[in-house]
């Protein structure tokens, strides 16, 4: 029981941490394309960890609870799409970027 609680707590903290980092990145990084990295990665893992915490927590009682996996599944499918489209939009709008400019293109 104790182990479950430790595990759950750990995953919660890890998840919270990465979520926060992702949002810090979003707030702090200097240009749009860099800010995009924060949420696409950190948040997925952040949510993922908390979902694992949840799965552990609810599996500890009666029966297993794995439906948390589904949220992860959907997020893993959708988050890259969002990131990609956001990047494309930013490219199209020629949003200011500190990255090397040589290979930037606008969509055709």
């Amino acid at each position: 029981m104790m182990l479950v609680e430790v595990l759950t707590s750990t995953f919660i903290l890890v998840g919270g941490f990465f979520s926060l980092v992702g949002s810090i990145g979003l707030a702090k990084l200097p240009d749009f394309f860099m800010r995009l990295h924060g949420p696409t990665k950190s948040t997925t893992l952040g949510v993922g960890s908390i979902l694992i915490a949840s799965a552990i927590h609810f599996s500890a009682g009666d029966g297993t609870s794995l439906h948390e996996l589904l949220v992860t599944l959907f997020l893993f499918i959708t988050a890259p799409i969002s990131a990609h489209l956001l990047a494309r939009a930013a490219l199209h709008l020629q949003v200011r970027s500190v990255a090397e400019q040589d290979t930037r293109r606008d969509c055709e």
């Binding site: 992702g22 200097p30 890259p80 990131a83 990609h84 990047a87 500190v98 990255a99 290979t103 293109r105």
Partner: protein, 161 residues
């Protein structure tokens, strides 16, 4: 077979997703899951006209595990970079030449890139031969291109020939 199971893997996925959704494995749930696993792909088969064939499930599994690991790594890396001084970061756009000739594979590659270390797929060229990737912190572009091709493109090519 094709008529009733247009996307067998999808059916498996739906079957499992249903069981996960209901969060139990009672008989009635399993029956429903099987039913839906068959019915939904048939209902929506027009929306998925392509029939991508999954050739080597073992490679796919391996790929998935690697992806998960890389995500963890990526997060740690990003965390360090985000929390550290941002000025030292050297962001860059990198064009990755592609050899995949399957839309699904390209898409999976792009998604993988977006989910993994410091990279986001920003754009795919019209001929689907070049993926433009934004990197958070680049020392050596070639290493990044090489990493993507070796770690992800190669297995994907095996899975979706």
């Amino acid at each position: 077979m094709r008529r009733w199971l247009p996307h067998p893997w999808m059916s498996v996925l739906l079957f499992s997703v249903w069981l996960l959704l209901v969060n139990d494995i009672r008989v009635v749930s399993v029956i429903k899951a099987a039913l839906l696993g068959v019915v939904l792909p048939v209902l929506t088969k027009h929306f998925w006209p392509e029939r991508p064939r999954l050739r080597r499930p073992s490679v796919a599994l391996h790929y998935l595990l690697r992806l998960l690991l890389d995500i963890v790594r990526a997060n740690l890396g990003v965390a360090v970079r985000v929390l550290g001084p941002n000025r030292r970061l050297k962001p860059a756009f990198v064009s990755v030449p592609l050899e995949l000739n399957n839309d699904l594979a390209v898409t999976l590659l792009a998604s993988t890139v977006s989910l993994t270390p410091g990279t986001v797929s920003a754009e795919i060229s019209a001929d689907r031969r070049t993926l433009l990737v934004h990197c958070l912190d680049v020392d050596d572009k070639e290493r990044i291109i090489d990493g993507i091709k070796r770690r992800y493109e190669k297995p994907l090519k095996e899975i979706f020939p």
